[in-house]
């Protein structure tokens, strides 16, 4: 059984601009502009000097540009490179493994004739509602030997109940006829899953994959809690340390030495620089993932 996308015929279609459609375009355009403008402010802010921010606040076009915020973030260039490396490894491995684990679980919970299906559903749901608190979680992570290894950054986030439900929801919409005919052909559940369901699930995989990758990419919390050796910290944790320390310095009275340093490092601009640094790679990746949200593989083409 093969699945194929229908050929894209680029017809020059005349678009009928009904008043409704015009409104839609305006609505979307306005919303997108409202999303863009603050982001431009953030970019501008990240290049704004401390004294300008103090005297004049943040504006779209700063009076003078400075890279002080970025210098502060990347001051420790040796460790930044290792941080990037760790983050890339964790994000890639984590996303792939997570997609596998969550999609399989989503498939299992969507099979209505499975014994104990309700129990499994409840098992997954319950974890979203109840939480034992930080102390016991920290103790368990220690007992499980996860601390101070790279698995500390990957495993705790691997199983995501929210994503499991998204997958389950999608698999409901796949017609049972496909499953039945494959079963008659003698295929086992595992084969059916990988050969049929996964192929159909491209939009959901793209969505969940994107969200998961974002989750791993942005994560600094697991690094803080579970890893003592700063050489194993992901990028976000390293950047956050800079901000955390700047924050601390700002709240206390400090010596002239520190003030001199703070005078050149605008801590708010550093935060904005961090937003840019975080977003950059994701926004570069996004267009590639986007095409899966447009028409996906048609189910009809599979029936053949």
């Amino acid at each position: 059984m093969t699945v194929s996308t229908p050929p894209i015929i680029r017809k020059k279609k005349k678009i009928r601009f009904t008043p409704g459609l015009v409104l839609v375009y305006i609505f979307v355009g306005l919303f997108a502009a409202l999303c863009l403008y603050p982001f431009l402010l953030v970019i501008a802010g990240s290049f704004t000097s401390k004294s300008e921010a103090t005297l004049y606040g943040y504006s779209l076009i700063p009076r003078s540009l400075t890279t002080a915020a970025y210098d502060a973030l990347f001051a420790n260039s040796r460790t930044i490179i290792s941080g990037y490396r760790i983050t890339l490894i964790v994000t890639t491995a984590g996303t792939v493994l997570s997609l596998l684990v969550n999609s399989m679980m989503g498939f299992v919970t969507s099979r209505k004739d499975l014994k104990f299906r309700k129990l499994l559903n409840f098992y997954v749901l319950f974890t979203m509602l109840f939480n034992g608190g930080m102390v016991s979680w920290y103790i368990i992570c220690g007992i499980m030997g996860v601390r101070n290894t790279i698995w500390a950054l990957i495993l705790p986030m691997l199983a995501g109940p929210w994503y499991i439900f998204l997958f389950r929801n999608f698999f409901f919409s796949v017609p049972d006829a496909l499953y039945e005919s494959a079963k008659i052909d003698g295929a086992g559940d595992i084969r059916i899953f990988f050969q049929i369901y996964i192929r159909l699930a491209t939009p959901v995989i793209a969505t969940v994959g994107l969200f998961t990758a974002l989750g791993y990419w942005n994560d600094w919390w697991h690094g803080l809690m579970l890893i003592e050796n700063s050489a194993m910290w992901p990028l976000q944790m390293l950047l956050r340390t800079v901000i955390s320390n700047l924050q601390f310095l700002q709240t206390m009275e400090s010596s002239v030495q520190v003030q001199k340093m703070l005078a050149t490092i605008p801590s708010d601009s550093v935060r904005m620089a961090m937003v840019i640094v975080t977003t950059g790679p994701i926004m570069l990746m996004y267009p590639f993932v986007q095409r899966y949200f447009v028409k996906g593989i048609m189910v009809g083409a599979v029936k053949g």
Partner: protein, 327 residues
């Protein structure tokens, strides 16, 4: 399977044995499925179920590491830690009320907006415009609440705020935004929608992308307008997704986005009547003492209420759409 025939009346023990054999058969025939479920089950067990014993801290007076979580002394009476919310605590009750009210508002309006946005994106014919606007709609998600707070201050300030500058320019009176708690549910709602709509609409977009094109073809042949297509095809097909996402959000209804509430309101006391939520309330109470028993008790309370609400909503959801129910 021979259906339609009445089952013969067997003695109880035989029926039980039958059921057991059926169950075993079901388990054995589904062994591949159970295998596929294993990784998730194990991971959730380790990182979610095992730490759950920490909830018992909600009933402890003090946590002494040497005695461990179980050995630490019990609170007298057991529910003492919960009193922070209920005994002599108008602020606590206010926080609970705000949490429920604001989160419900966010869920309802947020869902409607995200769906509208997804449908709107779907209507765009120009491929480049569609890709561009959709990418842009994602940007607010990345702006941290602290950075947002900086801009909020710049926008809403009394002396130097941009909005007040505009108002005075047009001849109106200045508005002291940070002194007017009644304005803030709306302000926070706008912020939440702006920040999350792009992100959430992706889920709906993915679902729409999975709808069989033949359905739309058939409707067009029948003479349906574009609006009719949306109303009679897109929305019903989205129904399950909408219900699932809403149920999941109800599961978090007692938890507020701390960053949003603490930073964007600048933690200004005059706004507490309408913006103080459980998470910020507890934060202020815990700033000095950090009592782990009280914070556990609050977390348990939040989870408990959400659990009951999810159970109730799930029951209702099952009536509407069998598939949408979470369990």
């Amino acid at each position: 399977m021979v259906e339609g025939l009445a089952k013969p009346a067997l003695p109880k023990r035989r029926r039980a044995a039958h059921r057991l054999r059926r169950t075993l058969r079901g388990i054995i025939s589904g062994w591949q499925l159970y295998l596929m479920a294993l990784p998730a089950v194990i991971l959730l067990f380790i990182f979610n179920y095992m730490p759950m014993y920490g909830t018992v801290l909600a009933f402890k007076k003090r946590f002494i590491p040497r005695d461990g979580i179980w050995g630490s002394p019990w609170a007298t009476p057991l529910t003492r830690n919960f009193q922070i919310l209920f005994k002599n605590s108008p602020a606590g009750i206010n926080a609970i009320r705000n949490t429920l009210y604001l989160n419900t508002l966010f869920i309802v309006v947020g869902t409607v907006f995200a769906i509208a946005l997804a449908l709107a994106f779907n209507e765009i014919q120009h491929r480049r415009f569609k890709k561009l606007t959709q990418s842009l709609s994602f940007l607010p998600y990345f702006i941290s609440t602290v950075v947002l707070a900086i801009f909020a201050a710049g926008l809403l300030g009394f002396e130097n705020g941009a909005i007040n500058g505009l108002l005075t320019g047009l001849g109106f009176e200045r508005v002291a935004f940070f002194m007017r708690p009644e304005l803030w549910p709306a302000i926070l709602l706008i912020t939440v929608i702006w920040k999350g709509a792009g992100y959430t609409s992706v889920v709906y977009l993915a679902t729409i992308a999975g709808i069989d094109a033949e359905l739309y073809e058939a409707a067009k042949i029948d003479g349906a307008s574009r609006w009719g297509e949306i109303w009679y095809i897109s929305l019903p097909m989205l129904k399950t997704t909408i219900i699932v996402l809403t149920l999941l959000q109800i599961g978090r209804i007692m938890n507020a986005d701390f960053g949003l509430f603490y930073n964007v309101t600048q933690d200004i006391p005059t706004l507490y009547p309408t913006t103080d939520v459980l998470d910020t309330f507890i934060y202020r109470a815990m700033r000095k003492t950090g009592d782990v028993g009280i914070s556990s008790a609050t977390a348990l309370f939040q989870s408990g209420v959400a659990f009951v609400l999810v159970l109730m909503s799930n029951f209702i959801a099952r009536r509407i759409d069998e598939n949408a129910a979470l369990f």
